[in-house]
Amino acid sequence: MIEMPVPDQRIIAKRDDLAARLRRIVPAEQVIHTAEELKAYECDGLNAYRQPPMLVVLPDTTDQVSQIVKLCAAEGVPIVPRGSGTSLAGGSLPTADAVVLGLSRMKDVMDVDYDNRTIRVQTGITNLAVTGAVQPDGFFYAPDPSSQLACAIGGNIAMNSGGAHCLKYGVTTNNLLGVTMVMADGEVLEFGGSFLDEGGYDFLSLICGAEGQLGICTEATLKILPSAEGARPMLFGFETNEVAGEAVAAIIRAGLSPVALEFMDKPAIVVSENFAKAGYPLDVEALLIVEVEGSDEEIDEQLTRIEAVVAPFGPSTVKRSGNDIESAKIWAGRKAAFGAIGQLADYICLDGCVPLSQLPDVLKKTAELADKYDLKVANVFHAGDGNLHPLIMYEANDPDSSRKAEELGADLLRLCVEKDGCLTGEHGVGIEKRELMLTQFNERELRQQMAIKDVFDPAWMLNPAKVFPLSLSTPHLEDRRAA
C-alpha cells in the first residue's frame, strides 16, 4: 500500500473557520463541506486509494483562485488541484487536511484565433470540448488522451497528457503556448503567450508535467491545427509479438508517419473481440492498427506503402479500410478494449514506456511475471512511441489479489526502467509511482528536481506528497522548515 503523510490535526481544527472564509470568496454552494458531498472528491481514476478532503472549493475565475490560494497559504493549508479527477496515478488524491481546488466550473472558451491557430480557454474545460469549439471551422486540438470526453485541460497540462495521435502531433507540452498560473502565494503570473517561444528560461516546460506542484494553471493558450480531410486505418495480425514489434520499427524507419500505431496482444484481442465483435482474428498473437490521414488519394498512397513495408514480416491478417464503416469496425475492438476488460475484472492500467526495440522482450517478460503472480495481463498500447499500457486484471475486493496486482505493477515498471525506458509515458507519477522514482533516478537527481519545487512553492503546499518519494521529500521539508 502507498503511504500518505499523517494529516495535520491543527489544520483540520480550522475547518469551519476556513469554510466560512472561503464562502466570502465564492458563492456558498461552491464550498463543499458535507461528508456526503466530499465523498465525490475522495479519489480520482486510481480508485484503490480514497480519502475525502477537508473541504472542496469550486471557483469561477482566476481572481477567486488567487484569493483562495492566498487564504490557504496564510493558514498553512495544503491545496490539491483537481481538473476532472480522471488521473490514473492518483494525481488528485486528497489528504484529510487539504482543500481540493476544483476547476470544474472554469470551462469558458475565451478566444479563438484561426489566423494564428490558437485557442484561449479556462483550464477546467474538457479536452474534447476544446476540439469541439473549433471543429465546425475545420480545426482540432491534437493531444487526445482516451479520457478526453471527461478530462480537463488543467489536468492535461499537469500530467503532460498524450494520446493515440501524439505520434504525429506531440503531447500537451508541444501544443501549449501559454498559461496564466496562480503561484503558491496567490500571485497571478503569465508564462508564454500566443507566440511560439518564451523569452528567458523555458518555464512552460517545467510547468507542463509538474503535476500541479508549481502553481495552478487557470487559463491556457493552446495550438489548434487544421483537421485532416480524412483518416483510415489498416489492421495487421501477426503470429508473434516479436514480428509485430519489428513491423512497427520498419514502418517508422521507412519514413511513413502514421497518426496512430496501436498494438494489442492476444489476451486483449480475445477480450475485445468477444465484447465488440469487431471481426478481429483470434488465431494471431498480436494485432497492429495503423492509421494514416489526408485526402483519399493520400491515404491510399500511404496505406499501400505501409502494406508493402509490412509484407516481408508475413502478417497472417491484412485488412484495409476502404470507408468509414470499415474504419469504425477496425477501431471498435481497440476502443472497447478497456471497457471489455473492465467487465471481466477490476484492472490497473500501467503506463511504462520502452524503446521500440525492447518491445518483444518486455512483452515476453510481462507474461512471465504475470504467471508468477498468477494474474492476467492484457496489453493495449501506443506502439509507435513504445508507450505500454499493461492492464493487470485482479479482484479489488480481495486484499491478496489487490496486493499482488500492485506488486506486479511495480515489477513491470521496474522492468521498463531496466530496459532503458521510463515509469510513466503520459499518466504522470502521482502517488502511484512516487516510491518507484528511485528506480529511475538517483537521490541527487531527485534532489535537483525537488529544488525546482522549492523555487516555485517554498512551503510545499501545492499537491504535496506526490511525485517524490516520501523518504526524500519528508526530511527535505523538515530541513526547510527548520532552516
Binding site: D115, N116, R117, G138, N160, G162, C166, G170, T173, M183, L189, F191, G193, S194, F195, L196, D197, G199, G200, Y201, D202, F203, S205, L206, C208, G209, A228, A249, A250, I252, R253, A254, G255, G294, E297, D300, E301, Q302, C353, P355, L356, G386, D420, G421, C422, G425, E426, G428, K433, M437, Q440, F441, E445, L446, Q448, Q449, I452, K453, D454, V455
Partner: protein, 392 residues
C-alpha cells in the same frame, strides 16, 4: 586558459574545482560559433565540450539519437543522412551572421535553442529533446528525462536546458527525436505581396491540412538578396509523390486570390534559417517572437520611427530585424513598440559593448525574474556557469 576534457568526469572535476575556488567562473564552449550570442561572459577559464563528441546511440527504427554535446552538427547530419533522416528542429548555423569560425555543435544548438524554419511544424529544440546528461554547478553528474518518446517521469529538466545558454548546467549528452527526410520537398512562392497581405496568405496556407513545413515572407529588399525580383512569400511543402502533388494543388487553389503561386527551383530555406540576408554588414540584428498577424503591424510601426529591414519566418511568428547599431541597437524603441502587441525581442547580433549595455533578452517582470534567479541559484549556487550570459 581552456580545458577540453574528454570525459564527463573530467568536466565534473573542473566544475567542482571552479565551484570551490573563489570567483572562478567558467565560460562554456562548444564549437565557439555562437559565442557572440547573449551577453558577454567575463571568465578567466574556458570549459570546452569539444572533447565529448561521440554518438551514444542511434536507432533509426525508433527515430532516436543520443549524442554527446561536443559532436558537430556536420558529423551529426552525415550520420542521420546515412539513414535518410534529419533533426526535427532544423538548427541554424550563424557563422556567417556572427562572423565566427569553427564548427557548430549539437550542444551549442541545444543551449541556444537554435531552431530554424521547421520549428513551425515540428517544434523547437525543446520539443525534440528526450533527455539529457548534465553537470550542475556543484559538479554533480545528473540525468533527466530519458531516451524514450514519451516521458512524464519527473519535472522536464531536459527542455529547461534548451535555450538556457549553459547557465543552469553543463549539458554533456542529449537524446533527441529525429525524423525521416521527405521523398519530395518543394517550395512555392507568391511574388509582390505587401507584408500584411503576405502574412494573411501564410495564415491561409497554414489553415489548410497540407503539413506546410516552413512559411516565410521576404519583403522586396531582403528577397533581392536571395535572387528574387520582388517580395517573396514562401511555403515549403513535403511528402510522398501523390501526397506532395495533392498538397501543392490544394495550396495553389487556396491561395489563388493572393496571386499566382509559382514553384521555386532553388532552396531558400537554408539562407532563411541562417539569416544570410543580414550577414556581412554591421547592423544590429534582432529576433522577435510574436503573434504572426501582429508582426507586419510591428514592423510598420517601427518603420515610422527608425530605419529597419525585416523579414518573417514561422508564418510571421518570427521577425528578423536589422537596424543601425548605434549605442543601443534601438533597444528602447523596439521593445517599447513591441509591448503594444506582446512577444519578446532578443538581440542576436551587436558588438560586445552594446550587448553588455542593453538587455539582450527580453527583461522579465520582477516575479518572473525572481523565479529565474531562484532556478539559477538552485542549479548553480556558486554562479560559475556562464555568469552574466543571460542576465547581469
Amino acid at each position: 586558459m581552456t580545458d577540453t576534457p574528454d570525459t564527463e568526469e573530467g568536466i565534473a572535476g573542473i566544475v567542482r574545482e571552479a565551484a570551490s575556488a573563489v570567483a572562478m567562473p567558467l565560460l562554456l564552449k562548444g564549437g565557439g560559433t555562437r559565442q557572440a550570442m547573449g551577453r558577454p561572459v567575463q571568465a578567466a577559464r574556458t570549459l570546452s565540450l569539444a572533447g565529448l563528441d561521440g554518438v551514444t546511440l542511434y536507432e533509426p527504427g525508433e527515430l532516436t539519437l543520443v549524442a554527446q554535446a561536443g559532436m558537430t552538427l556536420k558529423a551529426l547530419d552525415t550520420l542521420l543522412e546515412s539513414e535518410n533522416q534529419q533533426l526535427t528542429f532544423e538548427p541554424s548555423d550563424f557563422r556567417a551572421l556572427l562572423g565566427s569560425t569553427g564548427e557548430p555543435t549539437f550542444g551549442g544548438a541545444i543551449a541556444t535553442a537554435a531552431a530554424g524554419p521547421r520549428r513551425l511544424r515540428m517544434g523547437a529544440a525543446r520539443d525534440a529533446v528526450l533527455g539529457v546528461r548534465y553537470v550542475n554547478g556543484q559538479g554533480d553528474i545528473l540525468r533527466a528525462g530519458g531516451r524514450v518518446m514519451k516521458n512524464v517521469t519527473g519535472y522536464d529538466i531536459p527542455k529547461l536546458m534548451c535555450g538556457a545558454f549553459g547557465t543552469l548546467g553543463v549539458v554533456t549528452e542529449i537524446g533527441v527525436k529525429v525524423m525521416p527526410k521527405s521523398e519530395i520537398v518543394r517550395t512555392l512562392a507568391i511574388g509582390g505581396l505587401s507584408d500584411g497581405k503576405a502574412i494573411s496568405a501564410l495564415s491561409a496556407a497554414l489553415a489548410m491540412p497540407c503539413d506546410v513545413s516552413a512559411a516565410a515572407h521576404l519583403p522586396e529588399t531582403v528577397a533581392r538578396e536571395l535572387g528574387f525580383s520582388d517580395a517573396a512569400t514562401l511555403l515549403r511543402v513535403e511528402g510522398f509523390e501523390t501526397q506532395a502533388t495533392y498538397r501543392i494543388e490544394t495550396l495553389k487553389e487556396a491561395l489563388a486570390s493572393f496571386g499566382p503561386v509559382e514553384m521555386v527551383e532553388s532552396d531558400p530555406w537554408v539562407a532563411i534559417r541562417d539569416v544570410m540576408m543580414f550577414a556581412g554588414d554591421d547592423r544590429a540584428v534582432w529576433r522577435i517572437s510574436m503573434k504572426a498577424t501582429d508582426a507586419p503591424l510591428l514592423v510598420a510601426a517601427l518603420r515610422e520611427r527608425i530605419e529597419v529591414e525585416a523579414f518573417y519566418d514561422w508564418g510571421g511568428g518570427l521577425v528578423w530585424l536589422a537596424c543601425q547599431e548605434g549605442r543601443d541597437a534601438s533597444e528602447g524603441v523596439i521593445r517599447q513598440t513591441l509591448a503594444a502587441y506582446g512577444g519578446h525581442a532578443t538581440l542576436i547580433r551587436a558588438s560586445d559593448s552594446v550587448r553588455a549595455a542593453v538587455p539582450v533578452f527580453e527583461p522579465e517582470a520582477a516575479s518572473i525574474a525572481a523565479l529565474s534567479s531562484g532556478l539559477k541559484a538552485r542549479f548553480d549556487p556558486a554562479g560559475i556557469l556562464n555568469p552574466g550570459r543571460m542576465r547581469p
